[in-house]
């Protein structure tokens, strides 16, 4: 125990030093030092707390933020809100909030097994699984298989009474997530949507071709089908839930995908005893997440920043682009920025998995390391575009007024750096 206390103290000191010396927010380095001293530190720090995990390819940072807001009605909540979503980040988050009875942790989809074993969460929220730049070599289907194994093992939680065993909140609209989550002993199904379907044509259970009709899907070869969800989006401003619940929710965050994330957050929060009516006002307060969705004023331009890391994310981002324009005015210009550095994935072929047609009618500018890849893509897509060398050039090229920016990971960071920290 002394070892764990020492390790915890080290985590906080290291994180503070890292922030003071400007080497980042310290959420990774602190955890790394603490875990070196006490490898079981995450287990120790999680003990006695009520923990929720959030995982999936897209939307986990946002959903973590929304669920944290919902649970804050119960008291302080520990959370890795900077997206440091591996055990080092979790360790730091818990060490820095020793008094928080609740914790909401965003978990990288490859670390679900470890973090589940160490934190013994009350709730695990699973959003979606699709191809991601970092995962090109790793089959999404294999990841779903691994999740299924891990979640199936929850049935062996014999040392806890059944009503305290981990409860899974899962997206019924995603066949891969459904396949994985249906192995878990307790599941609440949420209709969280699936705009991107290119990774789930084939049944993960038997390999047959899934049949889809509207939102419904079913396998003709086996018994896998879309479970009946108990939470869904009734309309743009209303979440529907068990027992005829109709909860109005108005978010500052844009897009249908974030409204779906809110449905998941409300469903997960209800498992901690938080009433949707109490949670909804907290969700409405969330305005931006680590700069995402943030609006920044610069030289008379109102710039909104959208991060999109993979094809599914790009489709969601196009849905968020403001199409409405004041009477007589053109819709806002859109700047797309693409890099292909190591963390983005070196391969740009995914540009062709995305249809840019919905951007027609906007003035479109492209920049980033790989702007020529984007130029060729848009030409093929018959979307008129202008190539600019830098973000600053883009700003100079557009008139005062709104500018929508969609960028992938390092391109987004570059733009944020240019704008100063845009929280």
């Amino acid at each position: 125990m002394v070892r764990a206390q020492l390790a915890t103290a080290l985590v906080r000191t290291a994180a503070r030093l890292s922030r003071m010396t400007g080497r980042g927010d310290g959420s990774v380095i602190g955890g790394r030092i603490g875990l070196a001293v006490e490898p079981r530190l995450l287990t120790v720090l999680a003990r006695g707390r009520q923990v929720a995990l959030v995982s999936g390819t897209n939307g986990k940072t946002t959903t973590t933020r929304l669920l944290t807001a919902a649970l804050s009605t119960l008291g302080p909540v520990a959370s890795n809100s900077y997206g440091a979503n591996m055990p080092t980040g979790h360790t730091t988050a818990l060490a820095q909030s020793p008094n928080a009875q609740h914790a909401v942790l965003e978990v990288d989809e490859h670390y679900l097994r470890t973090v589940l074993a160490e934190t013994r969460p009350q709730v695990v929220a699973l959003l979606n699984l699709s191809r991601d730049q970092l995962d090109r070599a790793m089959e999404v289907g294999m990841l779903a298989d691994r999740w299924r194994e891990v979640l199936g093992a929850l049935r062996q939680q014999t040392d806890v009474p059944p009503h305290e065993r981990t409860h899974v909140v899962a997206n019924a609209d995603d066949p891969l997530v459904t396949w994985a989550a249906s192995a878990a002993p307790r599941v609440t199904w949420v209709a969280a949507g699936q705009r991107w379907q290119e990774d789930s044509w084939v049944c993960p259970q038997c390999g047959a071709h899934l049949k889809r009709e509207g939102v419904d899907w079913a396998c003709p070869g086996c018994d896998l089908r879309r479970p009946e969800p108990s939470w869904w989006l009734a309309d743009d401003d209303t979440v529907a839930g068990p027992d005829g619940l109709r909860q109005p929710v108005s978010l500052q965050l844009p897009g249908r995908v974030n409204r779906s994330n809110a449905v998941t957050a409300l469903a997960a929060a209800s498992l901690f005893g938080v009433r949707p009516a109490d949670a909804a006002p907290r969700l409405a307060e969330v305005a931006s997440i680590a700069g995402r969705y943030a609006t920044v004023e610069r030289d008379g331009r109102t710039i909104r920043l959208l991060l999109a890391k993979n094809p599914a994310g790009w489709l969601e981002a196009f849905d968020m682009v403001d199409r409405v324009s004041p009477a007589g005015a053109a819709p806002p210009p859109v700047l797309l920025s693409i890099n292909a550095r190591v963390v983005d994935g070196l391969d740009t072929s995914w540009l062709y998995d995305v249809d840019y047609a919905s951007l027609r009618g906007h003035r479109v500018l492209v920049t980033g390391d790989r702007r020529f890849d984007l130029a060729v893509r848009l030409e093929v897509n018959e979307v008129p575009f202008e190539v600019v060398d830098t973000f600053t050039d883009a700003l100079a090229a557009v008139p005062p007024g709104r500018l929508e920016v969609i960028a992938n990971y390092t391109a987004f960071q570059d733009i944020r750096a240019e704008l100063g920290r845009a929280n």
């Binding site: 070599a137 089959e139 540009l351 093929v380």
Partner: protein
């Protein structure tokens, strides 16, 4: 010429996009269609889902990349269907990319299993010691009259060519089939490990496939505005070529 091959427009058949579309494969379809249309040729693009029969009257067939499970499924369907083989024997052109090149060979390996391919190219593939991931540059078989081949490869397989298949290119940067050669061609069938997709960076390869389908020499293809593909090629080649 079989009667069902239409002379009024170019038919591009995309084989099993629901299984074989992992690395932007749609791009090759879109680029071929666009380059044909730019020459005033009407194009019909025909995506064939894996539970549909492959039509025999296409002019160009595209076979894309897929993960292990879909790739195995696609190979079984393709062989049982027979449409692709019939079309090739009737003079259709084929572009196969990434897992696609393995699929149209004699056989390939998934884990420890040997799986029969469509048999359109004299090649066999197995697993390499490591995954080949990164930029590739190759000097194309001079008989094809193409400039440097450029693209991105990401595959665990290695291709071994038999005497009836010609390497598409000699590798200058990257791995390709085996570190020495990349891709394969014979008749009007060409395969490559490159995606990016392959044709976005290699418009001349797109024109070669079009010229095969149209039965005209490559040199007879009217030039079109390639400002952006050329800038992309120049940028990529400068980034990866040893100086």
């Amino acid at each position: 010429m079989p009667t069902d091959r239409s002379d009024s427009h170019l038919r591009i058949v995309w084989v099993y996009p629901d299984l074989l579309s992992t690395y932007g494969d749609r791009g090759n379809l879109l680029i071929l269609a666009r380059r044909a249309q730019a020459r005033g040729i009407d194009v019909e693009t025909i995506p064939i889902a894996y539970d549909e029969p492959i039509p025999r009257g296409g002019d160009i067939y595209l076979v894309g990349g897929g993960e292990d499970r879909p790739q195995t499924l696609a190979a079984a369907r393709m062989r049982a269907d027979g449409g692709l083989t019939a079309a090739v024997s009737q003079g259709a052109a084929v572009l196969a990319v990434c897992a696609g090149i393995q699929l149209i060979g004699e056989y390939f390996h998934i884990e420890d299993k040997q799986i029969a391919g469509a048999g359109l190219l004299d090649l066999r593939s197995d697993r390499g010691d490591s995954r080949a991931v990164g930029e590739l540059v190759g000097e194309v078989d001079p008989r094809l009259g193409l400039p440097l081949l450029t693209g991105f490869e990401n595959h665990g397989g290695r291709c071994h060519l038999g005497p009836a298949a010609n390497p598409l290119a000699k590798v200058l940067v990257g791995v390709g089939n085996d570190g020495a050669t990349e891709g394969a061609w014979a008749g009007k069938v060409v395969g490559t490990y490159l995606h990016g997709p392959a044709l976005s960076r290699n418009p001349a390869l797109a024109d070669l496939v079009l010229s095969w389908a149209l039965d005209v020499p490559l040199s007879a293809m009217p030039p079109i505005d390639d400002t952006w593909p050329e800038r992309l090629r120049a940028e990529r080649l400068a980034a990866v070529m040893p100086r």
